[in-house]
């Protein structure tokens, strides 16, 4: 928490100090008011008082009230400035950090957790800073100041107030210790309710096909019962608080009066009136004291949650960036469009087993190099080493003869057109999605976009849309189908005019025919570009210049389709599982 607060700038701290000063002023004025109150009380009680004195004191008191309002307003303004600036900067920091994290680190956190950390967790902290700046300072200042003011007015009253505070605080802490852990259980049960419902919804066909409606409903009902029971317990336990608080506060006032009555009775005539007005003033101070303790208790209830959020944010900020951009910004070697792996091995830092072991190959300009292998053979990981989503653990990955680690990352990315397995769509239009990013060659023109869309076999459906190239694409591309998304995502790579295309199983959502035409057109269009393809279907890669067969992270064979059919067992098995012998030979 405190670590995170170091992110406050000098200006923030200055504002915070002003804010604190304002709050102290505000408390001072607030606590000045009972003095005028007592003066008014005395005047009203004493015969022969002048009306103008009462009005005057009333005016002073109002002035104090108004002054404290003004102070509070300014304090609030500064506090909200500080907290919103702070959250803005922290959010920016987290965002920057995440943008620089490697794929592996993102995976470790999980994307959805990173999103929560950047949004909800920061909002949580922001609320604490804003409230903290006001309440966390105000409550103790009020408590201490008010206690000081009333301490010498009568120990009997102070004792009564002290007892009331202790009762309230112990009630609250008992309640918290009972309910807090159960709140977590409730949260889990709510997640469970969500989970069971989601399960029923996502599997609705399965549920119905298995006639399992009752099974699901019983499952739901069980969680529902538990949730309801737990909720009722929590809420009932907590509903003790309000009445107890009311009773304690009222009875405290009452006791202050009764104690006052006895004191007045015993006192000399000269002191009686003073004691009476003290009594009135004390009862209002006592309320202030109690309320500020309640406020403190509330802040302490908030703290653990904010603490958790702060830890989660710090976790992100403290992550070391493992993949750092290099410095090379020009082609030194004269090679263009080559990708070479030299004895590349890769494993996750904490893993024992290598995911890729001793991979070596070279793709020359214009080559189509395909990677095939069963699920988990490491094809995707291999291809991800080129744009440095991961860095090779051992060995070198060279693009145009230079180790990718030495490249300025922007320069490296400008050489690459990467199409992921799961198409990514951004909120915007068809055009903005295809012309996405920056390829170092200036803005991508509409003609270029149209051309790319045509090559990607997307023209037909794009032109059918209401706004054609300006059609709105929702976040995540929810308003286009999977196959359409994939084609647009391919068009995006084409519009970039890269030296090297990387297709990470990017044709899976296309039917054979579209897949085939697309590849044919692409081949025509990208004659000079080097293409790296990961695929599942033999048909997709049969005609590649070089096919690299992976099995459990090792190269099981390199060669053309025909060569591999003869020499490579693994390839044969894969091929035979998809096509018959005759077909393979005919092709």
């Amino acid at each position: 928490m405190f670590k995170l607060l170091k992110n406050l700038t000098k200006k923030d701290i200055l504002l915070a100090i002003i804010c604190i000063a304002l709050i102290i002023g505000q408390v001072g004025l607030e606590l000045k008011m009972p003095d005028y109150m007592s003066e008014i009380t005395r005047l009203v009680q004493t015969e022969g008082s002048q009306m103008k004195d009462i009005v005057q004191n009333g005016a002073y008191m109002l002035a104090c009230a108004f002054g404290s309002l003004i102070f509070a307003a300014f304090a609030g303004y500064f506090a909200s400035s500080v907290s919103s600036n702070f959250s803005m900067r922290t959010r920016k920091k987290v965002f920057d950090k995440v943008a620089n994290l490697s794929t592996q680190e993102v995976k470790q956190f999980s994307t959805s957790s990173l999103i929560t950390r950047t949004t909800n967790d920061i909002t949580q902290i922001e609320m604490l800073v804003s409230m903290g700046l006001q309440l966390m300072i105000k409550a103790p200042v009020t408590a201490v100041w008010a206690v000081l003011k009333i301490l010498n007015k009568g120990w009997q009253w102070s004792l009564a107030t002290g007892i009331a505070v202790i009762i309230l605080l112990s009630v609250i802490s008992i309640l918290i210790s009972i309910v807090m852990p159960r709140f977590k259980i409730v949260q889990k049960l709510i997640d469970r309710i969500n989970g069971v419902t989601r399960e029923n919804l996502t599997g609705i066909r399965v549920v119905r096909a298995f006639n399992a409606e009752e099974y699901q409903e019983n499952k739901f009902e069980e969680v529902n019962n538990r949730l309801t029971r737990q909720q009722i317990f929590n809420q009932k336990t907590f509903s003790v608080l309000q009445p107890i608080m009311n009773v304690v506060m009222h009875i405290l006032t009452l006791f202050i009066y009764i104690i006052g009555a006895y004191l007045i009775k015993e006192a000399l005539m000269t002191d009686k009136l003073a004691i009476f007005s003290d009594m009135i003033v004390f009862s209002s101070y006592a309320m202030q004291v109690i309320l500020s303790f309640l406020m403190l208790a509330m802040i302490f209830m908030m703290l653990p949650r904010a603490e958790v959020s702060a830890d989660r944010i710090n976790e992100v900020l403290d992550t070391d960036i493992t993949i750092k951009s290099g410095k090379v910004k020009e082609n030194k070697t004269g090679e263009v469009g080559t990708v070479e792996f030299k004895n590349v091995s890769f494993k996750y830092p904490d893993a024992d087993e290598y995911l890729l072991k001793n991979i070596s190959f070279k793709a020359n300009k214009g080559d189509v190099v395909a990677f095939i292998g069963s699920t988990g053979s490491g094809k995707s990981t291999l291809i991800n080493l080129v744009p440095r989503f991961y860095d090779a653990t051992e060995g070198e990955v060279l693009v145009d003869g230079v180790n990718v680690k030495e490249y300025d990352s922007e320069f490296l990315f400008n050489k690459i057109g990467y199409v992921p397995q799961k198409a990514v769509m951004f909120n915007g239009t068809v055009t903005s999605n295809v012309a996405y990013g920056d390829n170092g060659k200036g803005e991508i023109s509409l003609d270029k976009v149209k051309e790319a869309i045509k090559v990607a076999q997307a023209t037909e459906f794009v032109e059918k849309m209401d706004d054609k190239y300006d059609e709105h694409i929702a976040q995540g591309g929810t308003n286009v189908s999977g196959g359409q998304k994939q084609r647009l995502s391919i068009a995006r790579a084409i519009a970039r005019d890269p030296e090297i295309y990387i297709f990470d199983d990017s044709f899976s959502a296309l039917d054979y025919k579209t897949d085939y035409i697309l590849r044919k057109e692409l081949k025509k269009y990208t004659k000079d570009a080097t293409t790296l393809i990961v695929a599942q279907r033999i048909g997709t890669i049969m005609n590649a210049d070089k096919i690299i067969v992976l099995d459990e992270g090792k190269v099981a064979g390199i060669g053309t389709h025909k060569e591999l059919l003869k020499s490579c067992d693994v390839y044969q098995q894969i091929a035979l599982s998809q096509l018959s012998k005759e077909e393979l030979e005919n092709a």
């Binding site: 109150m37 009680q45 008191m61 009230a65 309002l69 609030g76 909200s80 400035s81 965002f95 943008a99 994307t111 999103i115 929560t116 909002t123 922001e126 804003s130 006001q134 807090m180 409730v186 419902t197 996502t202 609705i204 066909r205 096909a209 298995f210 006639n211 309801t228 009932k236 509903s239 009311n246 009222h250 009764i258 009555a261 007045i264 005539m269 000269t270 009686k272 009136l273 009135i280 069963s374 699920t375 989503f389 990352s409 990315f413 992921p420 990514v424 990013g437 390829n439 170092g440 189908s481 970039r496 897949d515 085939y516 599942q536 279907r537 033999i538 890669i541 599982s577 096509l579 092709a587």
Partner: protein, 791 residues
């Protein structure tokens, strides 16, 4: 299947954040929604009424309490005012003893001076008296003989020498009081002061006091002569009777009896009595409200539970088409958030609304009942404040909305960038993303600052309104008190009333907003609950027994159109599958393959045509009956949180562990399961190390456990690599032996050995036959088939 795009918003354990009053969304038809909600709550009517009545009683007690408190204050403040009546009477009675006539009468009696011849002789012949003194005495006698004024006589006598006086003033007994000659001398010396009623400098002996003042009773207290003397003596030191403070300090010096009569009288027993009454009121108010909220908690949660149950049951009664049009997130948020909103606001707002309305009206009533001038003062002064606050609130509303919107935009952007991070990086989109992020972040910051500032302003303004009301009440109250119209206790009571009056207003406003969002939430919940269900199954009169079904299926001119489409998805589908055949359905995306399966499973009702199983139209079969006849494995690898075994056994009973293992061995997943930490009892959840392919194998195992005459595989092997698929295929072929099976597949290799291949395009069957026949035809199938080898 609609993908889940809206995740339900996360909630902290304590619900929403404090202080941030986010404007709730509004119901489309507020009245209607509330009416409906009340109708649904009908079965809780009595309990709710009880709870509300208790709340009302509690509130009434709260309102009555300040009145009692005012009594208490009055009782205490009566301990401040001096009993001036008694004081005046005391002064009257005691000074009466010292008036001229009485003194004239009593002093001679006391002194009892007898200057006759005997006395003269006695003095003159007394040898103890010096010659000098005797001479003085003789002179004095001569002087006195010419005088008539008593005081002059007394002054001459008093100036006589001691020795003479002793002889002159013999101790006597007056009214039973022994007065010594010394005492008489003292009196003689003070006569002038007594006559002037100036007792401050003199010291009268007790005997004289007793004779001068006569004891009397006042308010049951006996006031002795000496006390009266003391009283008068102190009173005579008063310089100016109008100075209250001086009077108080003099009073403190008074003898006990006088104090008792004059000092403020506070009946401590009354104080105790009122205090006990108050404690009883406070406690019973608290207990009543506690019981009321307990009841409300019960009602709210039970109602919420019943709503959740209804939604859960409803899910299984809705036609599948509903789920095509509604996202999972939407339904989920109805089950949790909306129901939660309803329960929470019932629990908190409803009771607080009732209580606060009672408090509000009650305090107005009590104020007017107590004093209408003060009531008007209090109401007007807080009203001014509230007008101001409403103004600010209205102004700030747009900032709250803006904040929500900006935050939503920013979060959307973050989500988008994070989930596409690789693409963003690889396309050098980070710079752009940063620019957008900064812009949105700044906007959030600005709207945050404004809305936070404004929402933070509410509380101080409320406090100011309270103080303003307080001062107004104090000043007007003081005016009234000074004029003697009201007691101080009334002011104390009003101070509480002002609070009781201002608090509910903001609470009511809050409850109303939460009622708004409750209405909106309940509208959504009931909209779902009221959704049209699947057609009833009255006409389903027939039943096919699972064990006796042969396995023939006929599609007879089936036409089907999705509800929101303009053209039919299935146009005129006619085909026959014979018992034991393996039927494959192929065709491009959108041809209607999955729809056919959905129709076969009666997930949707066909528009026209017929599907017959063993010659029986599915129209006459219940959905449950049909589902019983089919085993279905889908592309979606649907697994739930539970153990591996639970996932495979699912809802079936009497499945032994051996059977489960047997099936798993067949699909080749047994070995993998054994490598899991707890084997078949390992818990599966979302982020697990179980790959998509392995998940699919698990669902296939689940399907294979079902012993049904028909089998449907809808892209069931698309997630496993081709080598694994072959293994599964073999297992499945074993499974499909003797069963009629329908297979939808992307990979044509999977279905080459099918007995019948149906090639679909745009809802029609364009070709059918087996692989060789279709290849020979060189039509659509051949084209589709060949395209996989071309590059």
């Amino acid at each position: 299947m609609p993908s889940n795009t809206n995740r339900p918003p996360r909630r902290g354990p304590m619900g929403g954040g404090r202080g941030m009053s986010v404007p709730g969304e509004k119901a489309k038809d507020f009245k209607g929604a509330v009416k409906r909600l009340l109708k649904e709550l009908n079965k809780f009517k009595i309990l709710m009424l009880l709870s509300i009545i208790l709340a009302i009683f509690s509130a009434v007690l709260t309102i009555l309490a300040p009145d009692k408190l005012s009594e208490l204050t009055d009782e205490i403040s009566s301990g401040l005012t001096v009993n001036t009546d008694n004081l005046q009477e005391l002064v009257n009675i005691t000074t009466e003893n010292l008036n001229e006539e009485r003194l004239k009468e009593i002093i001679p009696q006391i002194l009892d001076i007898n200057i006759d011849q005997n006395t003269l002789n006695y003095i003159l012949s007394n040898e103890n008296i010096s010659q000098q003194d005797k001479l003085e005495f003789q002179e004095a006698i001569t002087d006195m003989s010419n005088m008539t004024d008593e005081s002059q006589i007394y002054s001459i006598i008093s100036s006589l020498p001691e020795s003479i006086l002793e002889s002159l003033l013999q101790s006597t007994n007056l009214n039973g009081v022994e007065i010594s000659s010394q005492d008489k001398i003292a009196l003689l010396k003070s006569i002038q002061n007594i006559q002037d009623e100036n007792l401050s400098n003199i010291d009268l002996p007790e005997s004289i006091q007793n004779v001068l003042f006569s004891q009397f009773d006042m308010d049951g207290v006996t006031i002795s002569p000496s006390d009266q003397y003391e009283f008068l003596k102190i009173m005579s030191t008063m310089s100016d009777s109008s100075q209250a403070q001086e009077l108080y300090s003099k009073l403190d010096q008074m003898p006990e009896s006088i104090k008792t009569v004059v000092e403020p009288f506070m009946n401590i027993d009354d104080v105790k009595k009122i205090a006990i009454t108050l404690i009883i009121m406070y406690c019973s108010s608290a207990i009543l409200s506690f019981i009321s909220s307990l009841t409300m908690t019960d009602i709210a949660n039970k109602f919420a539970k019943s709503l959740r149950t209804r939604i859960s049951k409803k899910i299984n009664k809705l036609p599948l088409s509903y789920f095509d049009q509604h996202s999972i997130g939407d339904i989920l948020s109805r089950v949790t958030n909306d129901v939660d909103t309803i329960a929470q606001s019932m629990n908190q707002s409803l009771a607080s609304l009732v209580t606060n309305i009672v408090l509000f009206l009650g305090s107005i009533f009590m104020m007017f009942y107590t004093n209408w001038i003060l009531a008007l003062t209090a109401i007007l002064s807080s009203l001014i404040g509230f007008v101001g606050m409403t103004f600010i609130l209205n102004k700030s509303q747009k900032y709250f909305i803006a904040r929500q919107e900006e935050l939503g935009n920013l979060n959307g952007h973050i989500e988008e960038i994070y989930s596409g991070l690789n693409v963003v990086k690889a396309y050098n989109g980070v710079k752009d993303a940063n620019i957008t992020f900064d812009k949105l972040n700044q906007k959030v910051c600005d709207s945050n600052r404004k809305s936070q500032f404004l929402s933070g302003l509410m509380q101080p303004i409320m406090a100011f309104i309270g103080n303003f009301g307080y001062v107004a009440v104090c000043i007007v109250g003081a005016l009234l008190t000074l004029n003697g119209n009201i007691s101080f206790g009334v002011i104390v009571a009003f101070i509480t009333y002002v609070r009781l009056f201002t608090n509910p207003l903001s609470q009511i406003a809050q409850a109303m907003t939460s009622l708004q969002s409750t209405a909106a939430a309940s509208e959504r919940v009931f909209e779902f609950v009221d959704e049209r269900e699947m057609s009833d199954q009255k006409q389903a009169t027939k039943r096919l027994d699972k064990s006796k079904v042969k396995g023939n299926i006929e599609f007879d001119h089936v036409v089907f159109q999705y509800e929101n489409n303009d053209k039919p998805t299935i146009k005129d589908f006619t085909a026959t599958a014979k018992a034991g055949q393996k039927v494959a359905i192929v065709g491009p995306t959108g041809a209607g393959k999955t729809t056919m399966v959905n129709l076969l499973m009666k997930f949707y009702e066909i528009n026209s045509g017929d599907i017959r199983i063993d010659g029986v139209s599915t129209k006459y079969l219940t959905r449950e009956n049909i589902h019983d006849l089919f085993t279905m494995v889908l592309q979606d690898t649907w697994l739930f949180e539970g153990t591996v075994k639970e996932n495979i056994v699912y809802n079936r009973k009497n499945i032994s562990d051996e059977e489960v293992e047997e099936v798993c061995k067949e699909v080749g997943i047994h070995h993998f399961i054994k490598t899991l930490p707890q084997g078949y009892n390992s818990i599966l959840n979302e982020n697990d190390s179980v790959s998509a392919g392995q998940r699919q194998l698990l669902t296939i195992a689940r399907g294979m456990l079902e012993d049904a005459p028909f089998l449907i595989l809808d892209e069931a092997t698309s997630n496993v690599d081709t080598r694994t698929e072959e293994l599964v295929q073999k297992a499945m072929d074993k499974l499909t032996e003797g069963r009629t099976s329908f297979i939808i597949a992307h990979r044509l290799s999977t279905i080459k050995n099918a007995d019948l291949i149906l090639v679909m395009k745009e809802g029609n069957i364009i070709e059918q036959g087996n692989h060789d026949e279709l290849m020979a035809k060189n039509g659509a199938y051949a084209e589709l088939y060949n395209s996989q080898f071309q590059l």
